[in-house]
Symmetry: C2
Subunit: 365 residues, 2 copies
Amino acid sequence: MRVHIIGTGLLGASLGLALTGRGHTVTLEDTSPTAQQLAADLGAGRPYTAGEPIDPDIVVVGTPPDVAAAVIAQALRDYPRATVTDVASIKTRLLETVTDLVTADELDRYIGCHPMAGREKSGAISARPDLFIARPWVICSDADTPTHRLREVEEMAEATGASVTHLDPGIHDAAVAKVSHVPQVVSSLVASQLRHAPLDEVALAGQGLRDVTRIAASEPGLWTQILAGNAEEVRAVLVALRTELDTVIEALELGPGSTGAIARTIAHGNEGHDRIPGKHGQAPTAYAVVTVLIPDTPGTLASLFKDIGDLGINVEDFRMDHAPGRRLGIVDVSVMPANASDLETGLQSLGWRIPESAIEKEGTT
Amino acid sequence: MRVHIIGTGLLGASLGLALTGRGHTVTLEDTSPTAQQLAADLGAGRPYTAGEPIDPDIVVVGTPPDVAAAVIAQALRDYPRATVTDVASIKTRLLETVTDLVTADELDRYIGCHPMAGREKSGAISARPDLFIARPWVICSDADTPTHRLREVEEMAEATGASVTHLDPGIHDAAVAKVSHVPQVVSSLVASQLRHAPLDEVALAGQGLRDVTRIAASEPGLWTQILAGNAEEVRAVLVALRTELDTVIEALELGPGSTGAIARTIAHGNEGHDRIPGKHGQAPTAYAVVTVLIPDTPGTLASLFKDIGDLGINVEDFRMDHAPGRRLGIVDVSVMPANASDLETGLQSLGWRIPESAIEKEGTT
C-alpha cells in the first residue's frame, strides 16, 4: 500500500513507523521541514519533495484539527485517485467543513477517522510504532462510501494493530466528549488547584492525585483546538457535571440530608466506573494480582520471571514500585485468576517473599 | 514494642501485618468479631479478648472517622500508660472532639497521625504489609507532646517503611483537601457522567479516562465520612475549581477570547501538574523509559530481565501491556537516564525489538 502522510506530528509519524514496519510505502509531508525530516530520520517513511509526482492509494491528513479541513480538500484535488482520510479527534464539524469545500465526487473519496491513541507528549519525537496497538480506530463512513475505499482504510488501520470500530460522526463526538475531552478538562482543573499550594502540602500527593492529574500535562495548544472543535458536546457534559458538583458543594455545608447527597455522588462514580472496559478494550479486566517482594538488585527480576516461566504461567501484566533507600522492590504480577494460587504457592515454595493476602482482584487498580 | 490496634480494617490490619513482620507484638481489637479474626488469620497479630489485661506501649485507633474520637478517648482512659494515636484522614475536627472528651493529661498522650496510604478496596482482606512503604506518614504533634511519646510513634511509623512528616493539623487538612479529597470528588463526578452512556461510546475509553476515574471505585460510606469531616477545606477548593469550570463552560460558547480562556485552563493544569512530586515522594520522577516489544509467551520476560541484569543495569520501574490476540507484549522499562542508551543498544545487540525513538522521559507518563 502506498500511503502519503500530511502532517508528521505524534500521530502522523507513529502511523508512518507502524506502516513502514509492515512493509508499506510511506511518503511524509509537513509544512515544517524540520518535523518532516525528523519523522523520516525516525524511520516513519521517505520525505516528500514539493511537486514530486506521487500516486498514493491513501492520503492521511495528520495536521492539527484547525487546518485539517482545508488540507483534506486540497488532498482530494491533488490526488484524484486516492482515498483521503484523517486522524482528527472531532468528526462532525470537520465533515461539515469538508463538505462545503469539495464536490460530491470528491467527498465520496473522503473517510473520516479517529485513531484513539495519543500521549501527553506531542511531536514526531514522541512517535512510536506501537502507539495504535489494541486502541480503537474509529471510522466514520456513510452509505455513499465506496466499499473498496472503506476496505483500504480498514486494512491500513488494522496494519497498525488498532481495533477498527465504525461510528456515526455525531455519536463519536458525543462519546469522546465523555471519555476523553471532559476528563482532560477536569484533570486540568484539579491540577490547577495545586498551582499555589505550598510544596509541603503537595508533598502529600498519592497515587490517586497522580492518576487523576496525569493528563493535566497535555499540550494547551492542541487541546484548545480539540475542545473548541467539540464545544457543544463537551459543554453539555460539563454542565451536567457542574450540576452534580453544585450538589456536593451545597452538601458540604453539612445541612440536613447532606451526607446522603455526598454518598450518592461517590456511588454514582462507582456505577460509572463499572461501565469502563478494561485496558484491552473488552470487559473490565479482572486479573488476579500476586505481589512479590524482591531485593532491588540487578538480576533478581530475571530469576523471578524465570521461575514464573518455569511454572508455565503467563504474565498478563505487571508493575513494580520501590521502597527508596530500602533496596526493596514490590512487584505486582497479574495473571489469569485460575493461575493465581498456583503462582503464589509455586513462588513461595521457591523461596520468594509473598505478603499475606497478596492475591486480589485487579478490577479497579 | 507492644501495639494494640483497635479497628482492623485496611489500615489497621496492614499496620498489624507490617509490625508483626518486624517482630513487634500486636493485639487486634474490632467491634466486628469477624473482622478481628480475619485480621488475625492474615497474620496481623493476636486477637484481643474483651477484658483481658494488656499493657500496650501504643494504641492505634483504626476505626472509621466518625467513631474515632470516642474510641481514642476511651483508649486514653483504658490504657493510662500508653501513647494513643490514630490513622484518620482528617485531623483538626478530630483533635477538637478528642480535646472536649479527655483531660489535659490524657490529651498529652494523644498524637494524631495520618498515614497517607490506601486503596480503592477496603477491609482487612485487602490489607498488605507493604501498604505504607515509601508513603508519607503525617504526625500532628504540638509543643505539649512529650518527646519520648513522639519518638515512640515515629519509630512505629518508620517500622512500616513509611516516610514520617510533621504537620500542623490545619495545614494537613488543607493539604489533603487538595491532594486527596477533591481529586476523589472530581474523579467520581467524571465517572458519574458515564452512568447512562451507551456501551459503544464507553468502549472508546482510553488510558486517560481510566486514570482519571480509577479512584471513582472508592467506597461511598468511608468517603462520605472523610469528605464531611473535612467539609470546610474541601468545599473551599471545590468552589475555586467551580469558578474555573464556569470559565471553561462559558468559553465553550465560543464567544470572543474563548480559545484564550480554554488554553489558559489547560496551561494552569500544566503548572499544577509540574508541582506534583514523583512516586517516591521526592522531585518529580524523570527516569528514561526504554520500550521493548516481546512475544507474549511464558519465559520471555525471564530472558529479557536476565539480559538486563547481565548488562548490569538496575530496573527502576516497569510496565507491560498487551496487544490482545496478537501475542505481543509491550514492556516499558524505566532506568536512570544515564543507563538508557546503554540499555537500548545492549538489548538491540542481543536481538530484542526496540521501536524507534523508544527512549523518552517518564515525567508525565
